[in-house]
């Protein structure tokens, strides 16, 4: 059964149709990439899945449950986590505290006025585990706002991971990064997908990253689905090539 099922979803802003009748099924354990030229509606589509926006029409189910109208926090509780194109972290707090908040919330402690010594120990251990995984151990006490872009992104991904999601949504994880940072983040995503069998949907502009990582690719253009398939199929698709060459020629 599909973990995420998007059925005929549309989003209008006044007379502008940002997403028009898009459907997508993501199987558990799959890594799905969404690509498309600028203004194709990728981020809007993402916002519909994560609950940042509500669709004008259509239906979204997660693990068989209708979540179309559910608020973001409730989608998170059901196992959906996301990162943003422009990194969303707590810049004035250290890496450790950023992760601590995520770990505590994930552990059901958000309203807790008190932590037992044991619970605190478990939380600390989990923070260390996440920092190691994200390559952040040596920056634990640095304010996230002072870190390099790649480390901020890694912090954001680790915060999302702290939630133990069943579906991870990554909006342009390598946006604005240098080659080394792009490589590091790509390896991290690959590791999460391969080793932890995490289901991931990502938007990405860097085609090397997309073709390296994705099991399947969906192409959006002008708010509508243009093609869907394996990286090999998409690479050979003429309509896709035309769409990309078209925008390249226009730009």
């Amino acid at each position: 059964m599909s973990l995420l099922r998007v059925e005929n979803v549309s989003k209008h802003f006044g007379s502008l149709v940002a997403v028009n009748n898009v459907s997508m099924n993501v199987e558990a354990g799959e890594l799905r990439a969404i690509i498309g030229p600028n203004g194709a509606g990728k981020t809007t589509f993402f916002n519909l899945i994560s609950g940042f926006l509500t669709p004008s029409s259509g239906r979204i189910t997660f693990d068989g449950e209708d979540i179309t109208a559910l608020r973001p926090a409730r989608r998170v509780w059901r196992g959906m986590a996301r990162t943003f194109q422009i990194t969303e972290v707590f810049p004035e707090l250290p890496v450790r505290e950023n992760l601590r908040i995520a770990v505590e919330v994930a552990g059901g402690n958000r309203l807790n006025p008190w932590l037992s010594r044991d619970a605190d120990g478990e939380i600390r251990a989990r923070i260390v585990e996440l920092m190691d995984m994200g390559g952040l151990a040596d920056k634990a006490d640095r304010l996230v706002g002072e870190l390099a872009h790649g480390d901020q992104r890694a912090t954001e991904i680790m915060m999302s991971l702290a939630l133990k999601p069943r579906l991870l949504l990554l909006d342009e994880p390598t946006a604005g990064m240098g080659d080394q940072e792009t490589y590091d983040i790509t390896q991290l995503i690959r590791k999460l997908h391969r080793d932890q069998k995490l289901t991931i949907v990502l938007i990405e502009h860097d085609m090397r990253v997309v073709f390296h990582l994705a099991d399947r690719i969906m192409v959006l253009a002008e708010g509508e689905p243009l093609a869907e398939g394996t990286p090999r199929e998409i690479g050979a698709n003429e309509a896709v090539q035309a769409a990309y060459l078209g925008t390249a020629a226009a730009a």
Partner: protein, 318 residues
């Protein structure tokens, strides 16, 4: 981290030494005990406001409403209901807290200036009720004809009416309980979700924090302690008038918090001390004392956005 904790511990110890010894050193430098009690009461109000402003990132411009409800609640309990100071404090605090809990759901979805405006509007509503309802509240003349009463204990009586020092220590005990609660909450997982909301509401939401619910709780806690401050304020003066509910009183609390430093726990207390002392000194010199307070405020905000405590900290760090 260690050094930071040590510094925090040291500053807390200094604050408490100064507060505990206030009735002994304040008269020596030309003050008087009631002035000290005023600083502590208004300091509690400003710190309560700062629980919401500095630690949740939500600006209320209507905290005087709950301060005033606490004050009227306490005064009217003593005047109409029972001659008990402790009950008057409890009733005053409850009245303000319940009002805040009911109004909360109507405002917590608003952000920024909209939130501030609506809190003012609710505050003004209570102000006009107190102002117009002459027969019960005493209207513009204020609620008079009552006073705080000695506290009865099993082992004897403490006369907080005649002894201003005894009253000061009653205020200080309640101040300790209230600020202790706030400090403890801020160090808890719940407190950290408030920081998360202040730092980045979108990220907080997408970590699974129901932001509106947490803001409501923070709002109610903040208003609860500001109501307590209001009840103590009424007992301090043996008098309440509608100005305790007026929007400019809310503004004073914001000024105290920002003046002292809203990113620090004790900052608003320092801000209240500066405000109260300036008011006490300047208002005996000139009617326009508020313009001098205002000028000082503007200078601090322009040049020291982290408040007076921020200046002291930077000096200490350098």
């Amino acid at each position: 981290m260690r050094g930071d904790d040590l510094k925090k511990g040291a500053s807390t110890a200094i604050v408490w030494l100064l507060l505990l010894a206030m009735p002994y050193w304040l008269p020596a430098i030309g003050g008087y005990t009631e002035l000290g009690a005023r600083v502590v009461v208004l300091g509690l109000a400003a710190m309560s406001l700062n629980f919401l402003l500095g630690y949740t990132g939500v600006l209320s411009f209507g905290h005087a409403a709950y301060f005033g409800l606490g004050a009227y609640g306490a005064g009217m309990t003593l005047k109409y209901l029972v001659p008990s100071t402790s009950l008057s404090i409890i009733v005053g605090t409850l009245v303000g807290t319940i009002a805040a809990a009911i109004i909360g759901p109507m405002i917590i979805r608003l952000r920024g200036v909209y939130f501030a405006m609506v809190t003012i509007a609710f505050g003004q509503t209570f102000y006009f009720i107190a102002f117009r309802w002459n027969t019960v509240t005493g209207g513009d003349d204020g609620l008079t004809g009552w006073q705080r009463l000695p506290l009865d204990f099993v082992f004897g009586q403490i006369d907080i009416l005649k002894s201003s020092v005894a009253f000061y220590y009653l205020v200080l005990v309640l101040f300790a309980v209230a600020t202790g609660c706030m400090a403890w909450l801020l160090r808890s997982p719940f407190g950290r979700t408030l920081l998360a909301i202040r730092e980045n509401e979108r990220r907080a939401r997408f970590l699974g924090i129901p932001v509106d619910q947490h803001i409501w709780i923070s709002w109610v806690i903040s208003c609860c302690f500001v109501s307590l401050a209001g009840a103590l304020y009424a007992l301090l003066n043996n008098f309440v008038d509608p100005r305790a509910l007026y929007w400019s009183q809310s503004g004073d609390f914001v000024i105290m918090a920002v003046l002292g430093g809203m990113r620090s726990f004790w900052g608003p207390l320092l801000g209240a001390a500066i405000f109260v002392v300036l008011q006490d000194y300047l208002s005996s010199q000139t009617q326009n004392w508020m313009s001098f307070v205002g000028l000082f405020f503007v200078l601090v905000v322009l040049f020291f956005p982290r408040g007076v405590l921020g200046i002291i900290r930077r000096r200490a760090a350098a």
